[in-house]
Symmetry: C2
Subunit: 413 residues, 2 copies
């Protein structure tokens, strides 16, 4: 894409009304736009990151046998009353609204209830199970205090997968497969070495659950990490019982601040029993379906990447989630050759942000490129052309390499 | 995809609580699921159609120079008060809700206001214009009466593009380009010969606007069509003044029922003036930006395709939007060869729904295939294998062709 055509621009001033690093950088670089506290729009560069993350998650969920659907935000209260979660005293972050005829409806903060009811249409026998259903869908959460930029918001895109199994053993097998898929996802988006499967409280669902925590100073959680075993335990269950349950010893653990970037929950038969999702087993006996749920907030993941990968000049995107792989910067006098390289890179399928702007100095272009943070910068100028070359610089390295124009495609690929 | 793994199943009974053909068929075939009146979830087959439609629209909007973003559903009332559209007496289909601290917020039914405010960050000079911004985003509309299946719903995915131009001439040029892109979109999804650009009332925005109407008995609109010129006029402006404005004569027109599948609106400077979106022109003069908006409801488009392309056996999807191009049906005794053909078709990049179920009769499989409506059916049985062949049948033709197995790939491609 030509930067001259990109409608967003980087802002010269730091965002004073944003307290968090992720929001400061993402707003300043034109990735997101704050609509209200805890409500952010995604601009072209930001949406490209979101889509890359979504693509990676979709591949891994599909590889698990997940089938994609799209549930609705508007919710019939009757369904939620059956599980006991309509009451604001039970779930304190509902947004509720009313139809013209004054009937109350909910705006979904999660989707266990409606999906459980939906599955009743399709599940009746052991032959219909197991199955795994997921979506990328907006969740609305009426947070008392929105904070930390993309970390705690009132509206966000979430991948939520739900598993439906015949028994605990079948459930647990999938649960472990999904845990492995989660580690793969976090590794693919660049957070592999920062992310720990973390033993945590089960909340209202079950005694324990698993979180995926990325170590970061911006984190709101405290976890205790065993780096060798690549696992951790959340402070909330950091006691003798919790430690025994997950087989960790205090002396091997190290305290860290971390951001929860995913969680997986055993749901047991809580919703299937409340809402009547049953199946007939091979012996003809009726049993409730054993469920699990598996969530990743896409915006929070993007915010976490921004928190972990930046320096004082700006963002540093991992290649897999960068809006563009290459930032091609043309300086005065190099227009013709820049156009040629831009065309060639695009023909090879490389995603290029092409700074073809004529009214910006080299210094401005470099500063903006650092702020936006594409993984690879290519500079073409009269000076590099004199040597029939271009300059290559990785965003996370200081080293600048001069390489011959004919080698560009090969080097980038 | 293996049909044995698809969690949805077709329902044997017709949906009695659905009055419209599109909802009857789409629910029965397992494409959508009704959550409440006017609120439908999309199941795997339905979501695939929705994604195909979205892909086509995205290509055409991108070709126009549109830049994709994603705005939010939660809306700050202050922004809407400035344009006068917060008041329920002015806009009667708002869903409104409240933050925990009792502050009222809106749930977006459209996005002119927030986008106009957002653009103020990036537009200040004639050099920043024109620009075109679009999104695929859920709209919430508090309809008094939801009806006609996917046609009039309370929550739906919409593509909305907004144009920002320096003057009327520049606006009008883009408006015409976008009108042409819309006809291309409707043609690509299979509705080309049914769709007419239709001169219509401008509503609250301007005197006139343009709708895209698809002729269908299920339509709620009455239009008068000039088939030769491929244009029409909506009944609401079917008077001497309207006819003169669009250069049509009563005697050349034919009355038809039609479904509005798209609309494009001149917005003039209504929102830019109300919200202060101005730019400095080449002479240093400050002017309000000239805007336009361009909408397509994706679910309604899918519903329209279902209304127009079906017979008494079920749906008949155009190839470009079908969930799968091929429905491969394996009958008893043909398992081994079916698997081979399935693999080969997939390797060629063909999207195949593979009926590998062992507990269904040939009759059941054929009936379901007709209901689901993939464009091409391939049947493999012991009988066809005896001739080293498979049966090919297009969903919209009666003719069945026997072709040699080695020719399948080539025929499908």
């Amino acid at each position: 894409m030509r930067q001259s055509e990109l409608f967003t621009k980087v802002s010269k001033s730091v965002q004073k009304d944003e307290a968090s690093v992720n929001a400061k950088l993402l707003v300043q670089a034109g990735f997101i736009h704050k609509e209200m506290a805890g409500v952010y729009s995604f601009l072209p560069l930001g949406l490209r990151v979101l889509n890359k993350i979504e693509g990676i998650i979709r591949e891994e969920m599909s590889a698990l046998g997940g089938q994609e659907i799209l549930l609705t935000s508007l919710q019939d209260p009757e369904v939620w009353k059956k599980s006991g979660r309509w009451d604001d005293k039970v779930v304190d972050n509902w947004f509720k609204t009313k139809l013209v005829n004054d009937t109350e409806v909910g705006i979904a903060n999660t989707h266990e209830e409606p999906l459980t009811v939906l599955m009743k249409e399709y599940v009746s026998s052991y032959r219909d199970l197991p199955c795994y259903v997921y979506q990328f869908q907006t969740k609305f959460r009426n947070e008392l205090r929105a904070k930390s930029g993309l970390m705690r918001v009132r509206e966000f895109l979430m991948k939520d997968l739900y598993s439906f199994s015949r028994n605990e053993k079948e459930f647990k097998e999938f649960y472990e497969k999904c845990a492995a898929a989660y580690l793969k996802i976090f590794s693919r988006v660049g957070l592999g070495s920062y992310t720990f499967r973390t033993f945590a409280s089960g909340g209202s669902f079950s005694k324990y659950s698993d979180e995926f925590q990325a170590i970061s100073e911006a984190g709101e959680d405290i976890i205790y990490v065993n780096k060798e075993k690549k696992i951790a335990i959340n402070k909330e269950v950091y006691n003798d019982e919790g430690l025994a349950e997950c087989g960790l010893k205090k002396e091997d653990l190290q305290e860290e601040k971390a951001i929860e970037i995913g969680n997986i929950f055993p749901l047991g038969t809580k919703y299937s029993t409340a809402l009547g999702l049953n199946f007939k087993d091979e012996q003809g006996k009726i049993n409730p379906v054993v469920m699990g749920c598996y969530g990743i907030g896409l915006g929070r993941l993007m915010g976490t990447i921004a928190e972990i990968f930046h320096d004082d000049k700006g963002l540093i995107w991992p290649k897999t989630v960068a809006p563009f792989s290459v930032h091609l910067i043309s300086l005065n006098g190099a227009e013709k050759d820049s156009e040629k390289i831009y065309d060639n890179l695009q023909k090879q399928g490389t995603e290029v942000l092409y700074d073809d702007r004529k009214d910006k100095s080299a210094g401005e272009k470099f500063a903006e490129a650092d702020l936006i943070g594409m993984p690879l910068r290519i500079v073409i100028s009269e000076r590099t052309l004199a040597e029939n070359s271009v300059e290559l610089k990785k965003r996370d390295e200081e080293k600048i390499k001069l390489i011959k124009i004919q080698d560009v495609i090969q080097k980038v690929f």
